[in-house]
Symmetry: C2
Subunit: 302 residues, 2 copies
């Protein structure tokens, strides 16, 4: 089955960095014959045609998905529900439908509400890849290579769709994992969403001080790396943090408890206790290394 994986037509909803890179990857690996793409921006559609990302431009999501055996929804998370609703009546019964959103329980709720009898087509996906610069012009066929792709199937997801989803991501070089939407969202609240929030808050805490410019001038490479993710896109992260707020708030409570231990050790002059707290973090972080990839050195990983 892996050898014969081949799609006739990809319907690409959203021709930005993520969607366009997926289309290029499928074409590079000869996994699809034709790509029909929709973007609300005429300029983006034009560029996607010029760059060979798509072979045909559609003027709506509904039009783009017709006759497709694979559909990728790659729009801002806040647009997911309306897009699913618009395309649902036009999806082929046996197609594979995926998204690329960074949160999954919200997408699953939207899918259950809007996909009706096409719900088995849907395999929610979160490819953990990105680039500092967004947009179709920065798309590349290798974006997903050596990066994680996490699939969070629903109970209703078709077995064939799930299998095809695994194969298509693996075929373009991703490391595929599956987990429940809930496990996905609690995991990424811990290892991605909360760290982003902490980095945002740390920068804002500096900005709130009158001498913030003088402070920032003295910041070094430690601050640079610690705060790099604070430069992330505000609309993207508004959506992620909002969509996953329950899990993010839970992680914030874990963090506050860990922070309070440091505060208590400092206030009580408990030097051995302070060292123990640091040592735990230092040992765990020293032993940890990036599993899936050594690529994407400075890529945002929403």
């Amino acid at each position: 089955m892996a050898m014969s994986l081949k799609f006739k037509q990809l319907g690409l909803i959203g021709c930005g960095l993520m969607g366009a890179s997926f289309a290029l990857a499928l074409q590079k690996h000869k996994l699809v014959e034709k790509v029909v793409g929709f973007s609300p921006s005429a300029r983006t559609r034009e560029r996607a045609l010029q760059l060979g990302v798509i072979q045909q431009a559609a003027t709506s999501a509904a039009e783009a998905v017709q006759g497709c055996d694979i559909v990728l929804l790659a729009v801002p998370v806040s647009r997911t529900a309306e897009c699913l609703q618009a395309m649902a009546p036009f999806l082929s019964p046996d197609c594979l439908l995926m998204d690329v959103g960074s949160t999954k329980t919200d997408v699953v709720v939207a899918a259950a509400a809007h996909l009706g009898e096409r719900l088995p087509c849907f395999v929610p996906a979160h490819p953990i890849a990105g680039k500092a610069q967004a947009g179709v012009d920065h798309a590349e066929a290798e974006l997903y290579q050596h990066r994680r792709a996490i699939l969070t199937p629903l109970a209703q997801t078709g077995a064939v769709q799930l299998e095809n989803a695994k194969q298509v991501w693996a075929a373009i070089g991703s490391h595929v994992s599956t987990m429940t939407p809930e496990a996905h969202d609690s995991t990424f609240a811990a290892v991605s969403h909360l760290p982003h929030l902490l980095a945002f808050a740390a920068v804002n805490a500096l900005v709130a001080q009158p001498q913030s410019n003088a402070l920032l001038e003295m910041a070094g490479p430690g601050f640079r790396d610690f705060s790099r993710i604070a430069a992330s896109d505000s609309a993207v992260w508004r959506d992620i943090l909002s969509a996953n707020q329950d899990e993010v708030l839970k992680q914030m409570a874990h963090f506050r408890a860990a922070l309070a231990q440091f505060e208590n050790a400092l206030k009580n002059g408990d030097t051995p206790g302070l060292q123990q707290l640091i040592q735990q973090a230092s040992e765990v972080r020293s032993a940890w290394s990036l599993q899936a990839s050594d690529a994407g050195q400075n890529a945002p990983d929403t």
Copy 2:
């Protein structure tokens, strides 16, 4: 005066990464004729001789400083006071004495208590440089090149000593700034000490959860950079956070206030407010770039 800067003998107290690199830098730039070094470890003294870091090994700090016109104290911060006390009676009246500690008000208090009439010799220094691997074996003459060196003179510091201190750091390639010890400690509490503490706490918050291994396995490049400083040495950071606890606690209060803004926006479903908070951080961090250096990519910057 800059052209004629030349010392006869450097007394090096502590032959680890920081001290040994300073000795190598002075020799590389022909700023000193001879280096006499002391380390409590016989093996370190031996290696320092072998590597040409020092030309003569002393068996005590007191012995090492005798007859020196420049002395560098490069020991763990917790040892500073005892070393100053031990060497004070043996310092030459006009020598330049510097340390390399990451906190400065504590060093100034120790100096005032122990240096007596040699207090004018002392120019507290904080070169913002480091390497992942410590020890004399990793010393290099270029460690301080293109890095900041911050001098925090006391009211009693001699004008000649201060001028010579500025010149010697500049001569080995550092970008020299001066500030008060208090301004130094509040600045670095904000841009270095608190970020380290937050990174330690963030890792500990993960460790506190039963599924921490599964969580860490899913962490990506964002987490990698955010948490890099959490791998820092526990004894070094115990000393830094303890020595600067008042300023660190003040910065923690600023951070908690910034964190509470995020928490409130999330709990109240205030999506525009949430985006505004993120956008402020994102704009400030995007506009910021490392001023002094593009070297030391992954160096700890205590």
